[in-house]
């Protein structure tokens, strides 16, 4: 009985420790972003940086992530009676303002890949308004 309780406590402890790690450095997508293999695009989806070697595993993860994004955009777009592309573009504006870390690459509205550096802050797409 005591042993079972101890095992359960250990298990819960391990899970609690593992969960935040998954969201941080252990996340292959975040790793690939910081390595410059993939990046955010002005269309609201993730893209592959040209010339980068993309593993099949990473490709699958990116595509899965984009499918989930599209589902989110589609649902909210229907609620607001706008097009999916417009909803995606609105999210891209927020992403470009707050979710591109230093050193990460991103693709601007003209299709050009850029990198956020200390001297070159993220250029927000022109359709974002303010």
């Amino acid at each position: 009985m005591i042993r079972a309780l101890a095992t359960a406590t250990l298990l819960i402890g391990a899970l609690t420790l593992a969960t935040p790690a998954l969201g941080q450095a252990g996340d292959p997508l975040l790793q690939a972003r910081s390595q410059g293999l993939i990046g955010e695009q002005a269309d609201g989806y993730l893209g592959f940086v040209p010339g980068a070697t993309i593993s099949a595993d990473l490709r699958g993860r990116v595509e899965q992530n984009n499918i989930q994004r599209r589902q989110l955009y589609t649902r909210r777009a229907a609620e607001r009676a706008v097009s999916v592309n417009e909803m995606a573009a609105a999210v891209a504006c927020e992403v470009f303002e707050r979710r591109i870390a230093m050193g990460e690459r991103y693709r601007d509205e003209g299709g050009q890949w850029r990198q956020r550096t200390a001297s070159a802050p993220v250029a927000t797409p022109s359709f974002c308004g303010s």
Binding site: Q68, E86, A90, V91, C93, V95, R99, I100, F127, G129
Partner: protein, 70 residues
């Protein structure tokens, strides 16, 4: 009685649909070129209006997007 009404109604409906299809529709070319610039303005307006929705989507699905950065 009801069946009789339906049997009379269906052909009438069919005839109406057929007749509607036969009415000639005249399409006139617009005199002035269509204003395309308008679309850009509407688009930007829509995106500004969606700002709060976009922020909400990001906060509720932080696993799908990168973390908040300074």
């Amino acid at each position: 009685m009801r069946a009789h009404l339906r049997s009379a109604l269906l052909p009438a409906l069919g005839a109406a649909v057929l007749a509607a299809g036969c009415i000639p529709v005249q399409i006139q070319a617009p005199d002035e070129p269509i204003e395309i610039n308008l679309n850009v303005n509407i688009r930007q307006e829509v995106i500004v209006r969606l700002e709060r929705d976009a922020a909400e989507l990001l906060d509720e699905n932080s696993g799908l997007f990168g973390g908040t950065t300074p």
